[in-house]
């Protein structure tokens, strides 16, 4: 490895793996590992692009690639449903798969898969894609498999987000401001609780009353309560 300043090194780390390795490579590796760990027949990732079009991002097997492209083209299938609902989808046996996803369900069955699951890839309530898991043997009845698959979906989501332009700095700033605002409100409850021998729930109500009676925000009322208390004795 060539020598570089820590600043450069961390700038590279912060921008994700995209510059070191194509994100597709990393996701391909993840779906293969998911197959290995869970014993599934095949695993693939379908995502929504910025124009809300479905696209294949990674697949562990050619048959799964075909099934994802079919889902994207027909806009139906387990991955389409997981993306629209944000909820885990599961179907076992040819009958159920055909009933739910007609020709796509039939194609999954014809490819030799006996069951299919799709796990949501979501971030802050937004579904970015789905991790599609195809079984070619008996469905594992171990509950842990679902958790492992969901963890793979979660990590794939983070990898994907890392490589895209999410407004993370703005969100970080919002988190810090929200946290500081929450602290101030809780401190004000503590002040009111102490001064008026109230429990915390009563103090919360008192703070709301103060804000309402003075027609100011809860945050402003909290600031004024804390400011008054600190000068009270000092």
């Amino acid at each position: 490895m060539t020598h570089r300043t820590s600043e450069q090194a961390f700038a590279a780390a912060a921008s994700g793996m995209v510059h070191a390795r194509p994100v597709g490579d990393i996701l391909s590796r993840l779906v293969k590992d998911c197959v290995e760990v869970t014993g599934a027949g095949a695993v693939a990732i379908l995502v929504l692009d910025e124009h809300e079009r479905l696209g294949l991002l990674a697949s562990s097997l050619a048959a799964a690639t075909h099934l994802e492209l079919l889902q994207a083209q027909d806009t139906q299938g387990p991955c389409v449903d997981v993306i629209s609902s944000g909820r885990h989808q599961s179907a076992t046996g040819s009958d159920e798969m055909v009933r739910r996803w007609s020709s796509v369900g039939a194609a999954i069955s014809e490819a030799g898969f006996t069951a299919v699951d799709a796990y949501p890839m979501s971030w802050r309530g937004r579904v970015l894609g789905g991790l599609n898991v195809f079984q070619d043997g008996p469905r594992p009845d171990d509950d842990g498999t679902g958790l492992v698959c969901q963890a793979f979906a979660d990590v794939a989501t983070i990898v994907l987000l890392h490589s895209t332009d999410i407004p993370a700095d703005e969100m970080t700033d919002r988190v810090h401001r929200a946290t500081a605002a929450r602290d101030l409100v809780e401190q004000a409850k503590g002040v009111l609780s102490e001064l008026h021998s109230l429990d915390i729930e009563q103090a919360a109500l008192r703070l709301e009353e103060l804000a309402a009676s003075q027609q100011i925000t809860t945050a402003d009322a909290a600031q004024s309560v804390v400011d008054q208390a600190r000068t009270r004795r000092g």
Binding site: A12, R21, I26, D154, A168, R182, E194, V226
Partner: protein
């Protein structure tokens, strides 16, 4: 630099084996395990006086964070500047000059012998530092993965924490603990007429002197079994 896909897969497998309902807690536990540490803590905040615990693997991790806040020095605070990982290695010759206050406190601490090594990584989802991920290791034998690899994981964990933030966080046990610290701070503001920063310092000093966690001391202040002033004359109103 190369981020090993093996590391990412190991992290995923480890993550899936974590049992907590809280995502930050699972991320924290998986990180500690994957880097070969004995425990870890995730704190969120932009300044040393306004940072708070989001997840810890156990009592040691929590106390090590409290201790750094109390002393006002340590890798977790240094890492908040975003200049990369900060490490305290009790075996290193210059440790006592780099972290004089914290090393003294660690050496005084009866339960940690020898003092644990601390590895603190800023969590940077993008450029800004969201918080810090700190791992500790009792035998200071070194992490299983390089600092750059661990830093990558810390950034990725930052993305996940950011994504989870606000989703049901009001009921998160850690947030309730944090709220109690804020409420206790407010009570001490009222009891002693101090600024919130100074009131928090009083709580931290009390916790340190009594070998207790800040969260425990705060609970006692809120339930009125501990106070820092004579009872007030004002009755219930």
């Amino acid at each position: 630099m190369n981020v090993s896909p093996d590391l990412l897969s190991e992290f995923t497998r480890t993550l899936s084996a974590q049992t907590s309902d809280e995502l930050p807690q699972r991320l924290c536990g998986a990180f500690a395990q994957v880097v070969g540490a004995d425990g870890a803590a995730i704190t969120v905040g932009s300044t040393p006086s306004a940072r708070s615990l989001l997840a810890v693997t156990g009592r040691d991790a929590e106390e090590l964070e409290d201790l750094q806040d109390m002393i006002g020095e340590g890798p977790s605070l240094r890492a908040m500047t975003g200049e990369g990982p900060a490490v305290l290695d009790a075996h290193a010759a210059d440790t006592i000059t780099v972290w004089p206050g914290l090393m003294k406190a660690l050496l005084d601490h009866t339960t940690w012998r020898p003092p644990p090594a601390l590895y603190a990584f800023p969590m940077r989802p993008q450029k800004s530092v969201l918080g810090v991920l700190t791992a500790h290791q009792h035998d200071s034998s070194g992490l299983k993965v390089g600092l750059e690899q661990a830093q990558f994981l810390a950034n990725a964990i930052g993305v996940a924490v950011l994504g989870d933030f606000g989703s049901g966080s009001a009921t998160n046990e850690r947030w309730l603990a944090r709220d109690r610290v804020s409420q206790a701070t407010g009570m001490v503001v009222a009891q002693l007429g101090l600024s919130p920063e100074d009131a928090l310092a009083v709580l931290r000093a009390h916790a340190y002197a009594h070998d207790a966690a800040l969260s425990q001391v705060s609970s006692r202040v809120v339930d009125r079994s501990l106070r820092f002033a004579a009872p007030l004359e004002e009755g219930p109103s």
